[in-house]
């Protein structure tokens, strides 16, 4: 075991965990004030659900030692093999304890379903969302993590995409294309929000959006550089290209927006940075700093244009999960067909042949297609049984009060935090008052 490597992966795990609350604020600021708590909760609750499932069977399905390219099997369910101190599986020899690897990968499993939630903001039943998270991570995320991230070992078979040599350093396909495709499916299942296209539904708190984007940017160094699974040069390369692509994507988005809409918006700066983070995720250890500049500028500009698609095609992906994560993730993954400088898998611009490009396109189509189809079916199943969408009245009044009995802001001196005024009599106190009268 290497203490330096272990220390870096432990720190990275904490950084990646922070991304989920960061995402919650990024999304939470973007919805209207009546749904901010629901947005935060849809994200926070994935931490609870996925952590529990990870111990029960998630880690086994993703990284277990079944001889299958499709899933890791259930032999490691309950993490009962965890007496192993050192890991030699996953292709090459990593010098970190298996439990540290499991903690690091858990954070990825947590944030991926959280990313999906932005597509169905303002209108989902909270219980239905929790059930969707359970089913989708079990059937989609855990196996897909095996496809892409498991490089096999002495006993286990590599995932079928990893075995083909698909390049996805930190999750452009497994996390972002995966979440983006599921978001599109759920946006279609739940339908458009009341007033969509007429009401601008502007972000209610852009300071939260900027704060969330900052936390994501910070945490993403753990996501990308931590994926080297060691404190080494590869981690350094991933760290540096992550910084470069994010900064340049922010500029790319702002320029497109200034030309198209007339202003440099703070929402554009935050979204551009996230688009850059998404696009560099699969590529961070495989491109040069100049490659990262090209990819960043392209990601910012392309995603800024892609968020306009929903207006033309008519699907209400509320917070642009498709435009940023599906498009940005696919762009980053496919760009490696041109920009990769990785030994043995060079892109077309660096003397490689079409194999890399073909593999990358295959991974995007396979992961995106599988996730879309399963998410759509799960969404429909939940909608037909327990119902996925809140009622019209609840949606207009705000999902926060209906689902959580709370409101995000109590800025009036006479408020109580539940949308009611001080002095209004709740059923309980009214009953007490009547009881007192009777006793008197």
């Amino acid at each position: 075991m290497d203490t330096g490597d272990t220390a870096w992966v432990l720190a990275s795990s904490a950084l990646v965990l922070l991304m989920t609350p960061g995402l919650a604020f990024f999304y939470g600021g973007m919805v209207r004030s009546k749904s901010v708590l629901n947005m935060l909760m849809m994200n926070f609750v994935t931490i609870g659900i996925v952590t529990l499932l990870w111990v029960l069977y998630g880690f086994s399905v993703a990284f277990g030692d079944a001889r299958s390219g499709l899933w890791g099997g259930l032999d490691w369910a309950g993490m009962k093999h965890m007496t192993t101190i050192e890991t030699t599986f996953n292709g090459s020899e990593y010098h970190i304890p298996l439990l540290v690897f499991a903690a690091f990968q858990l954070m990825f499993a947590v944030i991926t379903p959280a990313l999906v939630s932005g597509a169905i903001a303002d209108r989902a039943k909270f219980g239905a969302w929790m059930l969707f998270v359970v089913l989708w991570v079990s059937i989609v995320y855990f196996p897909v993590a095996h496809w892409v991230f498991d490089f096999g070992g002495p006993k286990g078979e590599p995932g079928w995409l990893a075995g083909k040599g698909v390049l996805d350093f930190a999750g452009g396909t497994a996390v972002h294309v995966n979440a983006g495709a599921a978001g599109l499916a759920l946006a279609l299942v739940l339908g458009r929000r009341i007033g969509w296209k007429k009401d601008p539904m502007r972000p209610h708190n852009l300071t939260l959006v900027m704060l969330g984007a900052g936390l994501l940017w910070f945490g993403w160094f753990g996501f990308n550089a931590g994926s080297a699974l060691g404190a080494n040069a590869l981690a350094g390369q991933a760290f540096f290209t992550t910084m470069v692509a994010t900064a340049t994507a922010m500029l790319g988005w702002l320029v497109v927006e200034r030309i198209r809409d007339g202003h440099f918006t703070s929402l554009g700066a935050a979204s551009g940075a996230v688009a850059g983070l998404v696009a560099i995720t699969p590529a961070c250890a495989f491109v040069t700093p100049v490659g990262a500049v090209i990819l960043g500028l392209l990601a910012g500009a392309v995603c800024a244009l892609a968020v306009g698609l929903k207006w033309r095609l008519g699907f209400d992906d509320a917070l642009d999960v498709v435009g940023v994560h599906l498009v940005g993730g696919a762009l980053g993954a496919i760009s490696l067909g041109f920009l990769s400088v990785y030994a043995g898998s060079k892109g077309l611009l660096y003397g490689g042949d079409l194999t890399v490009l073909g593999n990358q396109v295959l991974a995007v189509v396979a992961v995106g297609g599988y996730s879309f189809v399963v998410a759509y079916l799960l969404g429909k199943l939940i909608d037909m049984t327990m119902g996925f969408r809140i009622s019209r009245e609840q949606e207009v009044e705000g999902v926060d009060l209906f689902a959580h009995a709370e409101t995000g802001y109590d800025i009036h001196s006479a408020g109580t935090g539940s949308g009611a005024l001080v002095g209004s009599i709740s059923p309980v106190t009214q009953a007490h008052a009547e009881a007192r009268e009777v006793n008197a």
């Binding site: 007429k198 601008p200 927006e257 198209r260 918006t265 800024a304 244009l305």
Partner: protein, 112 residues
């Protein structure tokens, strides 16, 4: 006594308040409101989509004045709040039957 209600452009509010204070108006109630008149809102472009914005933000000022001061107060508000462009707002006057100062119980003109 009369209640004077003025709905004006937000950036004009500070000027109007100063002019009224100089004239001798001692108190007023001010609120941030939204509405529209003949200009019927406007269109806005945000994140690649265009919207019709029906409501325009305005400031509403309410002042109760003695009958003799009504014309002067109206004149001051109109002169100060006017830009000559669409959306300058409106001022209207209603009769007030009675006013009581809560602290002392003073009534009508003595309560203004």
């Amino acid at each position: 006594m009369k209640l004077v209600t003025a709905v004006i452009k937000p950036h004009k509010w500070e000027e109007v308040r100063e002019a009224l204070e100089t004239f001798g108006v001692t108190g007023m109630t001010v609120s941030e409101v939204s509405g529209y008149g003949r200009q019927k809102g406007h269109t806005e472009v945000y994140r690649g989509a265009e919207y019709d914005i029906a409501l325009v933000p305005k400031i509403r000022i309410e002042i109760v004045v003695e009958d003799a001061d009504v014309d002067d107060v109206l004149g001051i508000i109109v002169k100060t709040a006017q830009t000559g462009r669409i959306g300058d707002g409106k001022v209207w006057v209603q009769p007030v039957e009675s006013v009581v100062r809560v602290r002392t119980g003073d009534r009508d003109e003595a309560a203004l």
